[in-house]
């Protein structure tokens, strides 16, 4: 779209002319108009200089990432905690840590990509838990096409239960899985 204070005397938008010149698509007017030719030449010079600036080597300092992550880890959002079933009690784990362990385990399933994974303490423990701590897990994921979603959901539930048990001594109250999409093969045509 043209802009009123930056229009060439011939009526063309100099940014469009420069873009056409860059793409090698100058039209008949732009090839013969002195204003357009001047705009294209001006843009060409500046673009060359910009290219040199873009190519100048710039590396992020080695201290940048550790500095950022130090703050991030220090500010990890506080979440609920779950009491682990250990003798003497007094051992808590955050639901954030539980979710991280589940994501790590589930990332081993090649047909599944976990998007979000959250763990919460169960409001009403199931009777068969006999008082053992339980957590509810909610997962959103995509599956690689073609997928057998019922079987994949079962594998995902089983691995979730195993991880909760082996890592934390916890039982799953329920494991809800939302398949939000399928990952289709890249179209290479």
């Amino acid at each position: 779209m043209a802009i009123s204070d930056t229009i060439l005397p011939c009526g063309r938008d100099p940014l469009e002319v420069a873009d056409h010149a860059r793409a090698g698509r100058l039209d008949e007017h732009e090839r013969s108009c002195p204003y357009c030719q001047s705009a294209a030449a001006e843009a060409g010079l500046v673009r060359r200089a910009a290219g040199e600036l873009a190519g100048a080597p710039v590396d992020a300092p080695a201290t940048l990432l550790p500095g950022i992550m130090r703050t991030v880890w220090a500010e990890l959002r506080s979440t609920d905690t779950v009491a682990l079933p250990v003798t003497g009690g007094g051992v808590l784990v955050t639901t954030l840590a539980i979710a991280a362990a589940l994501r790590h385990a589930l990332d081993d399933l090649p047909e599944l990509t976990i998007h979000s994974c959250s763990a919460d303490t169960a409001d009403q423990p199931s009777p068969e838990a006999h008082g053992a701590p339980e957590v509810s897990v909610h997962i959103t994921a995509t599956a690689t096409y073609p997928a057998q979603l019922p079987g994949l959901a079962g594998t995902c539930r089983q691995l979730t239960a195993d991880t909760l048990q082996t890592q934390f001594g916890l039982r799953p109250h329920r494991v809800d899985i939302d398949f939000i999409d399928l990952d289709l093969p890249e179209d290479t045509s």
């Binding site: 779209m1 802009i3 204070d5 930056t6 938008d13 100099p14 940014l15 420069a18 030449a41 001006e42 843009a43 010079l45 500046v46 673009r47 060359r48 200089a49 910009a50 040199e52 600036l53 873009a54 190519g55 100048a56 080597p57 710039v58 590396d59 992020a60 300092p61 201290t63 940048l64 990432l65 500095g67 950022i68 992550m69 703050t71 991030v72 880890w73 500010e75 990890l76 959002r77 979440t79 954030l96 979710a99 991280a100 994501r103 990332d107 081993d108 399933l109 090649p110 990509t113 976990i114 998007h115 979000s116 994974c117 959250s118 079987g151 079962g154 594998t155 539930r157 089983q158 195993d162």
Partner: protein, 201 residues
């Protein structure tokens, strides 16, 4: 009953699959610091370069980039994918750098000297041809001097468009201005730079 997955065989851990950026963003938004670390690794160089070009000082650029990523971490719960994650980051880094620039200008009461950019002054190594090498460095030197003469808002829009190769729409989103204003600033910056570097034509 579904059989549990086979236990992993002994040996070195398998390399993890690289995750798509949108998945990393969702995970980071959920508070997954490891996913956020992956995002930082992917974008730190480009974001630091943006800060460096605006601030013309390596230490200030590192501060601005660090502050920007920490701000991004804090604001992630509000990020809903209305823009590309990289565009969103560009906007945060650009604002951090501009704020830092204004603070510095207030403190020293003088304008930034882009031509003093130490990190960007590394010699361009492309030239096996000494003449070309010398010419390229002279061109860069003149460009930096010309950039130093531009108002901040023109310089930032021009850098985003010409050096970082952002679209006009992205420049507008990053700078927080409308599309026509962004195009006008890029044009005026380009025109002023071309005039300042007229001897190269």
């Amino acid at each position: 009953m579904i059989d549990p997955p086979a236990p992993a065989e002994a040996g070195p851990p398998r390399p993890r699959r690289p995750l798509r950026e949108d998945v990393l963003v969702i995970r980071a938004r959920d508070g997954d610091a490891r996913a956020f670390e992956q995002l930082v690794r992917r974008h730190q160089r480009a974001m630091y370069a943006v800060g460096l070009r605006i601030l013309a000082d390596a230490d200030d650029a590192e501060d601005a980039t660090q502050n920007a990523f920490v701000a991004a971490w804090r604001r992630l719960p509000q990020f809903r994918g209305q823009a590309q994650f990289s565009t969103w980051l560009y906007r945060i880094v650009t604002n951090q750098a501009l704020n830092q620039l204004r603070r510095r200008q207030r403190n020293i009461d003088s304008s930034v000297d882009i031509s003093d950019l130490a990190a960007d002054r590394q010699p361009v190594s492309s030239a096996d041809d000494p003449y070309q090498h010398s010419e390229t460095n002279a061109l860069l030197s003149d460009l930096r001097a010309a950039l130093a003469g531009l108002p901040d808002e023109l310089r930032v829009c021009w850098l985003l468009r010409e050096v970082d190769d952002r679209s006009y729409q992205e420049v507008a989103e990053i700078a927080g201005i409308n599309l026509d204003t962004a195009r006008g600033r890029i044009y005026r910056a380009r025109h002023q730079l071309a005039e300042a570097m007229a001897s190269w034509r």
